[in-house]
Structures are given as structure tokens and as C-alpha cells.
């Protein structure tokens, strides 16, 4: 299991960000993803950076852990930056790197794009870090509720999502268990020629599929046995409620949007 990679991981906690209504978080992120593309000056980028880092700090999860957990993303960011340095030809030539002329426009554009990319990933990973999968599903069901009018199967979609999310950790554990069992029978997943390593996947995948199908069947049976019949008239165990803190957070976010509008050039 790759423990270091944090995208999609949930870390339970009691911070302000954890306690926000998941709908608040999703809505803010939705708008954040849009407004990131409106930033165009150093001040506006600065504002968004402060907002993102501030939110990350407010989760009370160690910033170093988050930054390290995004390692694979860092490579992408650096790659994007370098690509820009090489291909963009705007502004003046600043210096030459391995006989490639580097333009000032390239540095500016490369930094801007990389920063945008970083902020997007950081803020979206804060959602999954601080919100349990179940909360996310509930929020999506609630936010998509209006679509029911046009016969969109909102409840079914949410159910599918929450079942898949629920079984991700189970499948991860199962993968680990089976790969250990097969490693004990002499399978080498980590070294050797590519061909052999690909073949080593079969003894892992077959048992995984078998158990996933078995689980699905058992779950369906258990749901039916308990009289499950879908969305109509079903009450909820966890009710979502907008609290004062959500309103304050929205207020702060609106200020950020106004600030962004003012700092744009």
C-alpha cells in the first residue's frame, strides 16, 4: 500500500474545517476551481495562496504531511513548469539553459500555471482529507436533489457512490492480504523482468475479483432481506444542517472573491 499518497484519504479530526457542512465545502471548492482561473496578478495569486494555505492550516493536519503526500503531484507540477520554460517564447530572453533560450514570459507563465495547478490540487485534497466519504455522498445527494424533477436517479447514484467508497478500504486491505499470501508462495511483485511482474498480477487479481463479486452478492442479499427499496420516502440517519460557522465561512469566501476582483489587473 502506498501510505504516503494522500489524495482521497480521510483523516478524522475535530478542526473547524472538519466540522463544516460538506455542502459548504463542496460549493466553495466548486467556485474556487473557477476563480483560480481569474487570477492574473501577483496580488491575486497571493490572495488565493493565502486562502488555500490558511485553509490547510485550519484543518490541523500537519502541513508537511500534506505537502509530502502530494509528492506524485509535485512531479507533474515541476514537469509543467519545465515544459513552459522550453516552449513559451514571449518577453525577453533572460538566460540560456543548456543552450535553450529562457524567456521572461515563460517564467511568468510557467510559475502561474504551476501555482494554479498546485492550489487546485491542495484545496480539493483538503475536501477529502477532512470529509468522510459518507458525508461527501450525502452532500452530493443533497446538492443534486433538484435534478430529481427531471427523473435523474439522484438517490441511486448516491447509493452507488457510497457503496463504492465504503468498499475501497476493504479492497485495499484485501489486496494487501492476498499479495502477502502470494508473496509467501514465492511470487515476486517487486523485482524481475516486466513480463514476469505482469504475470504476477494474475494470482492477485483473480482472488480479488472473486471476493468482490461475493461481497456484492452478499450485500445485495442483506439489503433485500432488510427491505431496502430505494429513495422514495426514506428517512435519513445523518441530517445535514447549515450552522452559523458555514455562513461565516461563506462570508469569508465572498470577501476573497471581492478581493480577487479588486486585485486583478
Amino acid at each position: 500500500m502506498n501510505n504516503a499518497f494522500i489524495i482521497g484519504q480521510y483523516i478524522p479530526g475535530e478542526s473547524i474545517i472538519h466540522r463544516l457542512d460538506p455542502r459548504t465545502k463542496i460549493t466553495i471548492i466548486f467556485f474556487f476551481v473557477i476563480i483560480v482561473f481569474f487570477a492574473n496578478s501577483i496580488a491575486s495569486y497571493g490572495l488565493l495562496t493565502v486562502f488555500s494555505i490558511g485553509s490547510a492550516l485550519a484543518t490541523r493536519i500537519k502541513l508537511s504531511y500534506i505537502i509530502k503526500g502530494l509528492t506524485p503531484v509535485w512531479f507533474l507540477i515541476i514537469f509543467t513548469f519545465i515544459l513552459h520554460l522550453v516552449v513559451t517564447r514571449e518577453g525577453d530572453v533572460l538566460f540560456e539553459l543548456l543552450s535553450f533560450p529562457v524567456y521572461s514570459g515563460a517564467v511568468a507563465q510557467g510559475s502561474a500555471i504551476s501555482l494554479r495547478f498546485f492550489l487546485l490540487i491542495l484545496v480539493t485534497s483538503l475536501l477529502t482529507l477532512t470529509t468522510s466519504p459518507i458525508e461527501i455522498t450525502d452532500a452530493i445527494e443533497s446538492l443534486l436533489h433538484p435534478l430529481k424533477r427531471i427523473k435523474f436517479p439522484v438517490h441511486e447514484l448516491a447509493l452507488m457512490m457510497s457503496i463504492s467508497l465504503r468498499f475501497i478500504p476493504t479492497l485495499m486491505q484485501e489486496t494487501e492480504k492476498i499479495s502477502k499470501a502470494q508473496a509467501s508462495r514465492g511470487v515476486d511483485f517487486k523485482t524481475g523482468p516486466i513480463k514476469e511482474r505482469l504475470q504476477a498480477i494474475v494470482p492477485l487479481l483473480v482472488p480479488l475479483f472473486v471476493s468482490a463479486f461475493k461481497r456484492a452478492e452478499e450485500l445485495a442479499m442483506a439489503m433485500e432481506a432488510r427491505g431496502y427499496q430505494g429513495g422514495e420516502g426514506r428517512t435519513k440517519l445523518r441530517e445535514l444542517k447549515i450552522k452559523p460557522i458555514d455562513i461565516v465561512t461563506f462570508g469569508i469566501f465572498c470577501l476573497i472573491i471581492i478581493g480577487l476582483y479588486l486585485t486583478r489587473t
Binding site: Y65, E174, Q182, S184, G186, V187, D188, P207, V210, S211
Partner: protein, 290 residues
């Protein structure tokens, strides 16, 4: 092979918010040919411990020595494959590891990975299916068509076919019917003696630990709580209850008899029915004297 743990600690996902110290300050020694039982409450670190025996986990602190192989946090073992061949592990619910089209192929999977030739694999296959009592005509069937108990036996056969010198068993009888449990434990015990194995059994059954093991190690919260000969460890009622373990039935019986009749039957590995018989004769003998 001799097994030794020296101040071993293992932490899952170190340096993350999920950091979890599963075992710590664990030291013990087991000499070659011993049948060891490891008992402890759920979550006490039994499965973590046994994964060190074939190098699936490397201690985050301390040192594990199995025969001539040494595992520690700072260096990788070069002869990992050799160690895995010599230490066979039967995991909890081993039937989950079956994947081949036929029972025969699945049994052959382990030995083939370790480079055993076809003729030898064939010979071993017939040996091991006899040991686990799988009829020969199942060899060409799909393992997924078998009953749960049969699948378990096939999976065990797959590990035995590697002909390990150390056999590690993680609750091998969990979920089987009582009859099947006894069959399988008797089978492991017979193999242990015939092949001169070193056997490490993780079990929830105090009865099995008492009945089969030469040595018991009790774990609690990731470290050793007690160890010793089963007949000596399993009479310490208070200490065992403190870590939520019960006495084996036979020992409970002996204590009850003492309470009721005021004398102590001596335990020499008898079954409950044999003890009852002894008691009957003792009481009758006492009657005759009067």
C-alpha cells in the same frame, strides 16, 4: 530453524497520522523443532509477529533471526526467496488465496515459483493431498467449485507442497466445523512430528495451545505478557483473566473438581473424557475403601 526475536518493534505507517505501533519490546527464543503456540486477544499483534517470520514485514526496531537469516530495519535480506521457501505461512482464511483453474495447478503454484521441477511437484502433490485428505479426483476440478472446508484444505496443501522447514499457521481452523478443526490440527501435529518441523501456531483456542504446543507465548497489547510450558502457563487463572483469556476447558474442569471434591487431578495431556473417567475411578475407589 531456530527463531529469535530481540527487542522487536513494528509500527504500521510510521510518520503519518495513521501511525500505529503494533508490537514493541518483544523478545523470545524458540529452538528448532518446537511447536509454539501464540495466543492473545484480538489486536494484540499476533498476525504482525508472524509476518516477520518470512520477511513480509521487517522490524522497525530490533532484530529477528530465523536460522541463518537476519531481519532488521536497516538492511534488506538478499536471500528473501530462500527464506520464503523454508518458512511456509498459512494465513487466516487461506482459501482466499486460491486462483488457479484447477486444484492441482494451485497446489503446484508455490513449488513452481521456487523452481521445483514438474516430476517432483507431481510427487509432492500426491503426498500433500493425502495429508490434507483431499480425494485425488478433485485434482482436476476448479478450486472454486469446492466446499469451504475443502478449499481450506487445498490452500493448506499449496503451502505444504513447498516443503517448508518452519510452518507458520495463523488461526488455521477459524470458521471450520469442530470435526474439521480437530482433523486439521491433528494433521498439522502429525506433520510437525514426521517432518521434524518447527511450528508456530497462532490460535484463539486455549485447548489447542494446551494440547499441541510445547511452548506458549501470550501477547498483550503488542508485547510478551507470559511464556512457558502450556501446563504451567494455563493454570494461572488470574493472570490470564487479566488479558481476557480463559483457561482451557480441561484445566477448568480440574479446578472445579478440586473445589468440589478437595483433591487435584494431575494433568498429563488427557482429554476431558479421560479425566472424567479418572475421576470416576477415583471416586469409586474412595467408596470401596470405606
Amino acid at each position: 530453524m531456530d527463531i529469535s526475536f530481540e527487542n522487536v518493534a513494528y509500527t504500521y505507517q510510521p510518520k503519518t497520522p495513521f501511525e500505529h505501533r503494533a508490537i514493541h519490546d518483544l523478545s523470545f527464543q524458540v529452538s528448532s523443532g518446537t511447536f509454539v503456540a501464540i495466543v492473545g486477544h484480538t489486536g494484540s499483534g499476533k498476525s504482525t509477529l508472524i509476518q516477520h517470520l518470512n520477511g513480509l514485514l521487517r522490524p522497525t526496531q530490533g532484530q529477528v533471526t530465523i536460522g541463518d537469516y537476519q531481519l532488521s530495519s536497516d538492511k534488506k535480506l538478499k536471500e528473501m526467496k530462500e527464506l520464503r521457501r523454508r518458512v511456509g505461512v498459512v494465513f487466516q482464511y487461506p482459501e482466499h488465496q486460491l486462483f488457479e483453474e484447477t486444484v492441482a495447478k494451485d497446489i503446484a503454484f508455490g513449488p513452481a515459483n521456487f523452481g521445483v521441477d514438474q516430476a517432483e511437484i507431481k510427487k509432492r502433490t500426491y503426498e500433500v493431498i493425502q495429508a490434507v485428505q483431499i480425494p485425488e479426483d478433485l485434482l482436476e476440478r476448479s478450486p472454486f467449485d469446492l466446499s469451504g472446508g475443502q478449499m481450506r484444505r487445498v490452500a493448506i496443501a499449496g503451502v505444504l507442497a513447498m516443503e517448508p522447514e518452519v510452518l507458520v499457521l495463523d488461526e488455521p481452523t477459524a470458521g471450520l466445523d469442530p470435526r474439521g478443526q480437530k482433523d486439521i490440527m491433528d494433521m498439522f501435529y502429525r506433520l510437525h512430528q514426521e517432518k521434524n518441523l518447527t511450528t508456530v501456531l497462532v490460535t484463539h483456542s486455549m485447548e489447542d495451545a494446551l494440547h499441541y504446543a510445547d511452548h506458549v507465548i501470550i501477547l498483550d497489547h503488542g508485547t510478551k505478557y507470559m511464556e512457558g510450558k502450556p501446563a504451567e502457563v494455563f493454570v494461572k487463572k488470574e493472570e490470564l483473566n487479566k488479558v481476557q483469556l480463559d483457561l482451557p476447558e480441561v484445566i477448568q474442569f480440574i479446578f472445579k473438581v478440586e473445589e468440589k471434591f478437595g483433591f487435584r487431578l494431575t494433568y498429563r495431556g488427557q482429554e476431558l473424557s479421560e479425566l472424567a473417567q479418572e475421576l470416576k475411578e477415583l471416586i469409586r475407589g474412595a467408596d470401596n475403601h470405606e
